[in-house]
Symmetry: C2
Subunit: 557 residues, 2 copies
């Protein structure tokens, strides 16, 4: 069923170019309205009927969610609704799923999951609450989008329902967090969750409230007022600042030349023979002079520009370069300038823009955590793995740190140092709510404490090894061989086994709904997406809409 | 690669019949020695070289673990070792995996996982600690078996190592908890876990200790003494009773007649057309008179006999009847007698045998939780869903309770009642450590408290519905249709989607290493087991041992 040509995907967009969403801001309330263009699919071969979506629709949603946080400090509540009559959203487009390759489906689900987590993050960390105003039926991924909102209002018109028809109709799972959010977030009783998720037509009206599937219902004539009331109440609870000016997320500067892509502060070099992408992040020249300077710099300030570039690079590599299995993460610059930038952010952590920048780093690092690529940090002379940027290394599966200098270099850079600060000890928690340091030392409190106690010091390779912050510390003589060996080894292993292994190690420690969504629900969905009962020619995805029922192998596995 | 004929499997065995293990008890220490018979495979087509195992080997291990708890109250430490030279255990047999169907592999992994959890449970809940005395290399599942033990001793002979070669050699995951136990149980640093799990030859000697992969090493000449010392120390910490007499686990009485299997207290009826197995558990005629009477009855006492039968029925249905996708769980008998039996157990919960019986119910109910079948409890007149047996209903995905009587019956039984007691409020925790009631109401503390407060009362269908203990309460007129509909509906859905959905709802709430093993690691392994990179003709499992390398699709998914 891999019939579609899957195109190179760009994540560049802005509200003026949206084809599927309309973003309107009115004081403290924004309204984000879904009106999917049927002929606007990202890939040929399907029509986006009934507000169903594909990756392209979700890229616009992601853009809107990001812009609301940076460009609209005044917005305290976002009403998510639809411009179609009696249909909020029918979920992911089935024909799109049926024609997509396994890799495309999995990557699509991962991105949509991340965007929905971002919606929850806006409420939790930015005082920007989402209200799902379901003016019609919300089915499948449409209802899962609502589940990611703070509150759900459903029109009570005798027909509009919420539904998860994936299991009964499609032979797959609700793949964007629905199963987890039903029970773990909304507290739907598990037997009722079972009934609901096997009832294709869904549940409506008072029963939807009684079962906790929605928070409120309102007849059509009162619907807009009810949505407004919920938005106002959410606004009243919000700590968003008054009178702040937003920061425009101007277009990224990105130039691609063959296998090299350059941004202002970041470079990606693909080596197709080795199966690697080297991501070089350049540190700032200096910290901003003041909070005011940071605001004035806006999207061009290093801390914001760099995380936007890193986010874009991750998304593009993940979507467009599935054969590039190992990412080599490195940095270049002055660790003191990174630390000083971090210190400025930290000193003004209560400022809304600083908070947004920090939260964006948090989300982007979490995107790294869920990336199905081997991540290897290379810590070499001239690098600047301090604070924020050290966290990139700690997100990696392994850390290699050169002990000493590259003595063959004409002007050898000084030996690399690591520097820990608050960004490593709690400011950028993983999905589990714990810092990457805590998870690194999950079974060993004393080691975690010893590492945290070294904050603020310049740590040499020997220090870093002693503190357990790096995997290996080869010297100049061994460096090239050691890196070559790990890259070759990684390329020789089963990509699937690596993905499974890395996912298990990265999500050590406690669990949250977010870790469950990535660690567990995703794995089950991946499994089901592979099964002939879903993806085979007689499977439910391909048979959907043909009038023929799926032909299931009845073995329970 | 589904070449083998997968036979009907029996779980009946005893130490006199073991082909692969030797069980020796010497005072407070038992020694369980692995000596796999190469020609003793359960299925034709492979040889069990180097102490590698298949389901048959693990069935004996499970039997030994159970017997040690019931038959040997004097045993406080179990030394797990091997009778082969320089080889503790090479893990699951690769040729067996390569020739097995997907369903067989998944079921095999699940059973081995449950057995390893049982080993941890023996230490945690019975003061019977396992010491892995690795007299040679422990690779793959062999090392995962050691990881399930309390402590790991490795011989320091310059060659014996611990290893997880699955990723580098086989393109699959260590599927019996290894990845989770490395980081979450033993606190191996995640980058080191990555290095270790990609190093086919493993790690030995002092480095294995430094990396927390083993607890101690000892040269060959001191090895037996070191193992003895660890066993003695574990014994000293144990609260197992002194001078108690064990209970012989006599053979189960099981008679199969076509699609009906009868035990002393349990009946299983398969309806192949409907795809259902009805499991009827009969309650006790009366509670034992006293603790002494319970001991005297031994394996024939209702509480122990019934849980053994239920365990056997679950295992046989899971392994031998994969096409039977829905289990209907019901009971027959006097709820007061079940409650009285529970009260006697509760009154003597400190007694070692009572404790063993309770823990066995706990483990068996957890086996239900991880069973990939739809579980529907049918609560009808004449049933006895109280305490222990109510927990069977709460393990189900849905509960249907008849409101009233079957008026067409000649002598209608009185309406069903439910009765909650301590067995439902904490004595039989799920893998998450929470009771099934807590997980049922995971998002709703008040509902959980209201249900718990109803303990001790006879709850009618109306009560049960009000308290949220049942899904539906049809009356006599609707009962048959309602049950038929749910059975037909279940049979019409994708078995894979149901498995994924049920696993997500059953494991709501907090997570533990045990829930991670079943909820997450298993799902990843299932996915990988389906992938051509592992199971395809060019995949690693089929190519293993042929001298040809696997041919991987390099796409990262």
């Amino acid at each position: 069923m891999q019939t579609a040509e899957e195109p190179e995907v760009s994540f560049d967009t802005d509200p003026g170019r949206y084809r599927h969403w309309k973003l309107a801001v009115d004081g403290a309330t924004a309204t984000l309205s879904l009106n999917v263009a049927e002929d606007g699919g990202l890939v040929p071969g399907y029509e986006l009927k009934m507000n169903s979506y594909d990756l392209g629709v979700d890229i616009e949603l992601y853009d809107a969610v990001q812009r609301l946080r940076f460009e609209h400090p005044e917005v305290r509540a976002v009403v998510l609704t639809s411009m179609k009559d009696r249909m909020f959203c029918a979920g992911a487009n089935i024909r799109m799923l049926a024609q997509s390759s396994h890799a495309w489906k999995v990557n699509f689900c991962k991105f949509t999951n991340e965007t929905r987590n971002g919606i929850e993050d806006a409420a939790a960390c930015s005082g920007q609450a989402y209200i799902a105003a379901l003016n019609g039926t919300a089915a499948g991924g449409g209802y899962e989008l609502a589940l990611a909102c703070d509150q759900i209002l459903l029109v009570d018109d005798g027909s509009s329902a919420v539904a998860l028809p994936e299991v009964p109709l499609l032979g797959v799972l609700p793949g964007t967090g629905g199963l987890t959010r039903l029970v773990d977030k909304r507290g739907v009783r598990r037997d009722r969750a079972d009934v609901f998720a096997t009832t294709a037509e869904g549940i409506k009206g008072a029963k939807a409230v009684a079962w906790r599937l929605v928070d409120e219902i309102a007849p059509a004539r009162d619907f807009a007022a009810a949505a407004g009331r919920l938005a106002q109440a959410a606004s009243a609870r919000s700590a968003r600042p008054a009178g702040a000016a937003g920061i425009a997320l101007t277009p990224l500067h990105r130039q691609t030349d063959g296998d090299v892509t350059r941004y202002d502060h970041l470079r990606v070099e693909i080596d197709r023979r080795a199966g690697t992408a080297t991501i070089v992040i350049e540190g700032p020249a200096a910290a901003p002079d003041s909070l005011a300077a940071l605001h004035a710099d806006g999207a061009s300030s290093w801390a914001l520009a760099t995380v936007r570039e890193l986010d874009d690079a991750i998304l593009r590599l993940r979507t467009n370069e599935p054969d590039v299995g190992t990412w080599l993460l490195t940095t270049k610059g002055d660790p003191a300038a990174v630390a000083a930038t971090g210190a400025l952010l930290l000193a003004h952590a209560g400022d809304w823009l600083v908070n947004e920048i920090i939260q964006y780093w948090k989300r982007t690092l979490r995107r790294l955590d869920t990336t199905s690529r081997s991540l290897i940090a290379l810590i070499t002379p001239g690098s600047c793995f301090a604070g924020l940027l050290l966290e990139v290394a700690l997100a990696a599966d392994r850390q290699y740190m050169l002990d000493g200098i590259f003595s063959d270099d004409e002007e050898p850079a000084p030996p690399a140092v690591l520097r820990l600060d608050e960004f490593n000890t709690g400011l950028l928690p993983m999905s589990s709510g714990r810092s990457r340091l805590q998870i690194r030392f999950v079974g060993s409190e004393p080691d975690a404490r010893a590492a945290a106690a070294a904050a603020g010091q310049d740590l040499t390779a020997a220090d870093a090894e002693r503190l357990g912050l790096v995997t290996e510390t080869p010297d100049d003589l061994d460096w090239a061989d050691e890196v070559r060996l790990v890259v070759e080894e990684r390329a020789s292993f089963s990509p699937d086994a690596l993905t499974g292994m890395e996912a298990n190690f990265r999500f050590a420690g406690p669990e949250t709904p977010e870790t469950k969504i990535f660690g567990r629900l995703t794995a089950w969905q991946n499994w089901i997406f592979q099964r002939p009962n879903a993806a085979g020619p007689q499977g439910a995805l391909c048979r959907y809409g043909t009038g023929q029922r799926a032909d299931y192998d009845r073995k329970r596995v």
